[in-house]
Symmetry: C2
Subunit: 200 residues, 2 copies
């Protein structure tokens, strides 16, 4: 079992996650987060110097959930498509189960609180995966696309399809998730691009 | 020249666009929007019954900017890939020039104010384009993907690449925009999927 102290800290991170995804960064206040976590505002400042530190710690907490899920699903024994598919399906499952993680990640990474240090920290943790993608690009299996493009076509759709249901309903049936991954793969794979030249 | 009345209305829509994209729906207030548009709060209620009506009118105003840009770039004389590419590049140019339009569209369509009536209204305006995509799917040129998937892989990347710069820097060079469209096309095109089966 966790030491009491650590469980309070995690409780505050979870409360911040809910508070921010329900009310946004603007409205989210340390007092409301403390109330949600059932601790006194003073207790918050025992664990975090200020609201910024609390938000940043919540982002790291959220990123670790996503990164651990990806790395656990990762298998470099299979071919690249199968390897990425396993990660993709694991993350899609997590997005369906806990959409808040993805909503917070999206909101924070576009906020003023996002820093290069946090980006580099996540890239370091994701390096086994990023290396495989780089290698796939060097070997010509994948298009020579930068991180922004790979992220945009491979991973963002997971969040968009789950989050975007209000905008365009997406039925997360097995067949549809299968098709969604095939679309993500075709976007980043090198083969298709040449295959479709002059496609009518 | 616009009649004075209409110019005030458009001024209020533009002020709402800026207010919401800068402060979010929660913080945006009719008083602040009126101040930004340099009119009295009373004037707002001459044009709009309440905040909801003002936000909805701003969404319609924003959607028409996006839809008009897409329809003007649309040419059904060329093949499907070239036709979609022209639309895609026109929208990408608009996103670079006026990212607020896309940010507001994204925020509103995930908000409680989004309604089926607004969705259907936009789909009606977009029908020439949606028909071409449906026809491409029936003829087997495109994957048999629902609206959510086509939207997610074809159009959302435009917003994500421009908006997501804080998260992953995307250099909107001609070559990169070219590559981004190739990725979007390969995602929705039928050819590639089969071409990459068993790809290592």
């Amino acid at each position: 079992m966790r030491p009491r102290d650590d469980s309070k800290r995690v409780g505050l991170l979870e409360a911040t996650l809910v508070e921010v995804t329900e009310h946004g960064f603007q409205v989210a206040s340390v007092a409301r987060i403390a109330r949600r976590a059932k601790v006194s505002p003073a207790t918050v400042y025992i664990h975090f110097t200020d609201k910024t530190a609390l938000l940043e710690a919540t982002f790291v907490h959220v990123c670790d959930r996503l990164i651990d899920t990806a790395l656990e699903a990762f298998d470099d024994e299979v071919d690249l498509r199968a390897g990425l598919k396993a990660i993709w399906r694991a993350l899609f499952g997590l997005a369906l189960e806990q959409p808040r993680l993805f909503r917070f990640h999206d909101a924070f990474s576009h906020s003023v609180w996002m820093t290069d240090a946090l980006r580099e920290r996540n890239d370091r943790r994701l390096s086994p995966l990023l290396d495989v993608v780089d290698q796939g690009q060097r070997s010509g299996v994948l298009k020579p696309a930068g991180r922004a493009l790979v992220h945009c076509f491979l991973f963002l759709p997971i969040y968009q399809l789950v989050h975007g249901q209000q905008c365009h309903p997406f039925d997360p049936s097995d067949a549809n998730i299968e098709l969604a991954f095939a679309m993500a793969w075709d976007a980043i794979a090198a083969g298709p691009e040449t295959a479709t030249q002059g496609c009518r």
